[in-house]
Symmetry: C2
Subunit: 248 residues, 2 copies
């Protein structure tokens, strides 16, 4: 049972010293409601101990044969129906005793959380209500005390969101196929804050980068001059890849 193959380190070490882990995936799922200028995060209500009655990040335990990323996508698809999204791994939280269940377990099973960060298109995202479990978009500034260390994970995810938005084209993963520069600006303002940049400078900078294609089609939304619809040109963006591109 405990043959040579079971040993990894050079000096023979009893397997009993090693921790056994259940690995969970917790997702920080963001969405931007451009109508109301709000940055939202998806939370679910827990109906089991520990932390029964607390809101938490949507998560799951990783199954056999399932990759971490697959698990992250599964959590997401169990909670919302959405086509356009960006998802990446965030950080792994794995200190002992971050999960109260550890103490109760004679064999010292540890619970580790590989957190992921996602940005989804709000207009398109349809929450899946399974009858019992609560699920809701929370404005970021009204998030309550969450289960486990999920507040910490959420903060970490928020930092990542801001960085990604500044240095990567993830906004286009979450905007419609065509969009106005006003839409794009709104998205940035909602996440980064009102004073991150002047609109006309933002506009000039982005157009100069050359990967936004003007479709020529105009759209009118209520009062004001109709806006051009633009399209993100992935091919034209290629050269900008790797290069730090700053929207600040």
């Amino acid at each position: 049972m405990r043959g040579k193959l079971q040993r990894k380190v050079a000096d023979p070490l009893d397997d009993d010293l090693l921790a056994d882990f259940k690995v969970g995936v917790d997702n920080v799922i963001f969405s931007v409601d451009t109508e109301q200028n709000r940055l939202l995060v998806l939370l679910v209500m827990r109906h089991e101990d520990p932390y029964m009655g607390y809101w938490s990040l949507p998560g799951t335990l990783v199954r056999q044969g399932e990759s971490l990323e697959d698990a992250a996508y599964r959590v997401l698809s169990e909670k919302i129906r959405v086509h356009n999204l960006y998802l990446e791994q965030l950080y792994t939280f794995g200190g002992p005793s971050r999960d109260p269940r550890e103490a109760k377990d004679a064999y010292g099973v540890r619970y580790l959380s590989v957190s992921h960060f996602a940005l989804v298109r709000f207009a398109e995202a349809e929450l899946i209500a399974d009858g019992v479990s609560g699920i809701a978009w929370y404005p970021l500034n009204r998030v309550p005390r969450l289960a486990f260390d999920h507040n910490e994970i959420l903060n970490y995810g928020y930092q990542r969101l801001r960085n990604k938005l500044e240095y990567s084209p993830i906004a286009f993963d979450v905007l419609p196929e065509t969009f106005t520069l006003g839409d794009l600006y709104q998205l940035y303002v909602t996440v980064l804050g009102e004073d991150f940049s002047d609109y006309s400078n933002f506009r000039a900078r982005l157009l100069k980068l050359g990967f936004l294609e003007d479709t020529g089609v105009k759209t009118s939304r209520g009062a004001g001059r109709p806006a051009s619809l633009y399209r993100f040109d992935a091919a034209a963006f290629e050269p900008c890849k790797d290069k730090p591109m700053v929207f600040i």
Copy 2:
């Protein structure tokens, strides 16, 4: 045995579906040999299957009661004696079948690697030879095919090193208490490449930032004008924190 507390997801799910994990920590440990202008990574030779005879990143399995970070520091301290270093979590690699041992195990135990990235002071680092296991600094451009997915992890770590060096003051964690601006420049050139910046511009930029304190002491190394020894002033750096500081 499988009571209510054992269940996490809303719909009852058999625990047998969940994967059991052993969690490993693999470290990408970098060091800069400024004498020879080489970027080095620490590798150890494997003496067990799988991948017996291959070089690999130094790693270990996480023990009971041990945090991920603790495990990372333990690996490091088992391989080298060093006082000054920077260490942070890198990424978690956890796809199924990334470790050949998984297939042989009837219970489908998975091996997950929480990789860490470290930068240590080369002059001070003393390798710990334990008699049997090979251990060596490899120049980054001469790294062979490594065990597992360690080449991929190494690449990921190298990207992180470059980013950190550009945006964080980690260089000062790994330089002596006092150093010349030439030393600092050498470090940057070795990691980022010859053409990352002109020396005098690099110099002017850093001095203007105001967190390098001139000790007044001069040092002469062979020919050439003696250089001032500088000290990193952590207090003066505080305001620069968070702000993106670019050395490019």
